[in-house]
């Protein structure tokens, strides 16, 4: 088991471009912090829940896309050819899939954790003030649904066709950038920008940080969607699917 884990870790994560992408993520996070967040989202404090949530959401989109990209490699032609050999070894395909998902999910969680720490350090270094409790809640609300979407939707689509993963990545971008006002982005950033701006234009001045039930519902819905997709994939993983795979 550990040998398989080490092998998959090597072929999935221990590659120069994965590290390069992680560095790009951290640089992007810093740029977001130093250009937008430092000024405060919708005129709230830069260290408010609104600003930090927007920061986490925006950077999560990038880490989510990177993780999707890594996941899409699992379903590339080359990997499929290799899996023909791997599948005949007798090692459970379900376990193998679990290991791979743990690795990719772990990478996503780790990169989001690094982004979280980077944001906290940045804000504390400049303003000497952070609301760690609110930040952790935001981190969980943003990261966990994204994690399930990544593993569920990613595997489901990847099994059908790797191209669908790329299309789904484009959908994530469209939902985040073009459908901004609807607040239905998978990475959950727009809520912090749109709602804080709406509250600001309504009341002006200080906008107290709140998480609305609608936002909670959206996040929950994405999480359920991800879990259902993940269950569907794991149910399909068996002898039957292996045969179809080999074809």
């Amino acid at each position: 088991m550990s040998k398989i884990f080490k092998y998959d870790l090597k072929i999935i994560l221990l590659k120069p471009y994965v590290f390069a992408m992680l560095i790009v993520e951290l640089i992007y996070s810093y740029l977001i912090l130093s250009s937008e967040i430092i000024l405060g989202i919708s005129d709230t404090a830069p260290f408010s829940g609104w600003s930090f949530g927007a920061f986490l959401g925006k950077t999560t989109m990038v880490s989510l896309l990177v993780s999707f990209f890594i996941l899409s490699n699992l379903y590339s032609k080359r990997q499929k050819q290799v899996s023909i050999l791997a599948d005949v070894t007798g090692f459970s395909i379900r376990k193998r899939m679990l290991i791979r998902n743990v690795i990719i999910g772990g990478f996503f969680l780790l990169s989001n954790l690094l982004i979280f720490v980077e944001g906290c350090i940045f804000l504390y270094a400049i303003f000497g003030k952070i609301y760690i409790g609110a930040y952790i809640v935001e981190w969980l609300l943003i990261t966990i649904p994204c994690l399930f979407i990544l593993l569920g939707a990613g595997n489901l689509l990847g099994r059908i066709s790797p191209a669908l993963v790329y299309i789904f990545m484009a959908v994530i971008i469209v939902m985040a950038v073009i459908l901004r006002d609807f607040g239905i982005d998978i990475n959950g950033a727009n809520y912090f920008e749109v709602v804080s701006a709406a509250l600001e234009s309504l009341k002006g001045g200080e906008t107290p940080f709140t998480i609305t039930p609608q936002y909670l519902c959206t996040r929950l819905m994405y999480m359920i969607f991800g879990i259902v997709a993940l269950i569907a994939v794991s149910m399909r993983v068996g002898e039957k699917s292996r045969i179809s795979f080999e074809k």
């Binding site: 790009v24 740029l31 430092i38 000024l39 404090a45 830069p46 990209f69 400049i126 303003f127 001045g205």
Partner: protein, 742 residues
Amino acid sequence: MQTIKLIKVELRRLLMSRKTYILMAINILIIGMGYIEYTREICSYLFLDSGASTVDNVIVPYAFGTLAGSLIWGISLLIDSDRIKKNRVKDIMSAFTDEKKLSLARILSYSVVTILTLAISLIVYMPLCSKRMDYLFDYESYFVYPVLFYIPGMLITFFLCEALYKLSENLSVSIIMFFVLTAAQITPPFSNEFFAWNIPIFSNISDAFGSPAVIRLEFYTRILLLITSLLLWEICCLFIRKYEKGAAQSFLIRIKRPVFLIIPISLLAIIVVMIIKQPFVRNSPIVSLDDSDFYMLDKDEEAYYARCKRNLSFNTFLGTMKGEDEILLSKVEDEDLTFDLGCGLELKSATLDGKPLDFTSCYVENDNINLYFGIKRYVVKNPEKKTGTLKLTYAGYPAVGRSEFSSGSSIPFTRIGRKSIELNWDHMGPRYYYIVGPCISLYVNVPRDHTPLIEAEEMKREKENEDGTVCWKADYVTGNLVSGSYNSDKVSYSKEDVYFKYSSKYADTVKSNDLDAAICDVFEYCDKHIGEIDKYSDGIEVPDIKIIQTSAENGSGYARYGVVAMSEDFMSPGTLKDSKAGTNMNETFMHEIIHLYWGDLGLICDDDGLWSAEGLTVFTTYRIVKEKYGELYAKKYYVDKWEQDVKYLNNIFYYRHPEYLDKLPDSYRAGIETSVSSLKKYSLMPLMLLKAEERLGGEKEMDKVLQELYSKNIEYQELGTGCTMQDFLDIAGLTEEDLEIE
């Protein structure tokens, strides 16, 4: 030799491929989309929002075409690079040809194709551009700008794409990295001219006066970026996989041979030198202009002179200037001789009766105005306090300070070019605070077809020089130099004559739009509602009131010493054809004329961050607009906007919590302070004045208060102070609470 052969093969392959022609057609079509209004609006976010014809008809289409072309051709090149690996012929190819040479051949072949695309586009769109720009169309601008950013943009793209592919040998990763690098350009802090490699970011461009400083900056940055991309390509070529070796192993094998490192190290050295020696932005401390106090050393006069002769000459190709001051010192009190020199200019030598003197230079702390503009203070040592002829020689490329650059204005007012020369006050040579004497005899040497003006006042023609320039002379105290081909109209309203000087390119526009009459209207209104104009500025009588058109690069205008300088934008066809006629630049034009009353020649205000001449000027502009275009119009474009701005101001976190402002890095703080100050002066104060008008009972009552306030301008000038908000409140019989805006 092999590379040339490879180029021929690659170029032939490209030119025989249908895909190439489809991509060329797409690129040409995208350039054409830049002429559509909707696309222009999108582009204004990336490039520049301006009414200048050259920007709308040349810069935007070709800049848009450069960005799109870069993406199209870049991806195409990456796919072609991947083709060898995809078809599994990499090892066979490596056996008979060098992969680096193949890469170079691919880059150069693609470059040829893109140059061809640009050439076709330039020919196809020339009639359209010429028709749209009408009398402002200029072949030089039409060809120079597109060539300047399209060709280097493509070359940089190709080197970068090849570098990314050589590093990763993975098509998807290369494309993603390529997109990341493209997006990085519009993300602060990289969103400035120095990092824009395929999204050319421009400061404003002039239609009539040329924009030599922009061209030089673009040229320099393109070369710098091109060398940087070449360096990246060279480094990434070290990663080209050797047979049965990985990226790291191949790299380690190559760097052991010094021959592979010669080119990268040389390129790196060139880049470092170019960055250090770049002449456009000087490494001055970053300060905020808002909290600036003019800092004067507390000391007596250092020396007196009987005569000072200043000679300025220009290199209109390189944009440099050099000058020489010859000062006949009659009495010396101090061993130090102190003066300031504009950003970018360096003192080359100081001699007294032919003997060299030592000198030092530094940026003066707390002197925020000078620090903002990157002005250096020089101290020439004259230990024996000798009298005689002091000669100061200085030269350089007029630059901007870091503060000015980080605030977004990357091009200085000072511009030296073939079509025009504009020299700001700080670049007019040394400014002496403690060396006193009569007026400086200023000699400027400008091209033969130029008419030099000091604060719009004509100079006296002295002689023709052997190098083809003409020497002009004037007595100089202070002011800007503007030199070019100018027309001059004498506009007379009921009280005074006003001289209107503008580029000869606009002669027809001035006549067809009756701009002379529009100028008269503003003066008549102000005379009637504020008071008659006074012809004293800073206690000095000004001979005439002058309005001068300056380059669009200046952005707005100013009023000083009876001269109203305005950017050419307000006369551009785009502005005059604007359906919202009366707004935008046309009202800037009124605003600057009104500054003669509130500010320059009229009432001086004590600027306390809120109460200022700006607020009074904006309020009077609103009143003129209200009379001219109606109440609804004035409410929509003025009162509603002020209210929105004030709401925005009250919402700014750092305005509500200034304690956190101090915790921000200087560059952010300066930006926020400047923004807050501008909102207070241009929106909050006019809104307060409007409230005062309501409290007083109407326009007539407000006019009486403003007239009474204005009539005290002589008193203030004599006292050497400015009018305060309390003075206004006392005359109006109101309190500060009465004017409070919620």
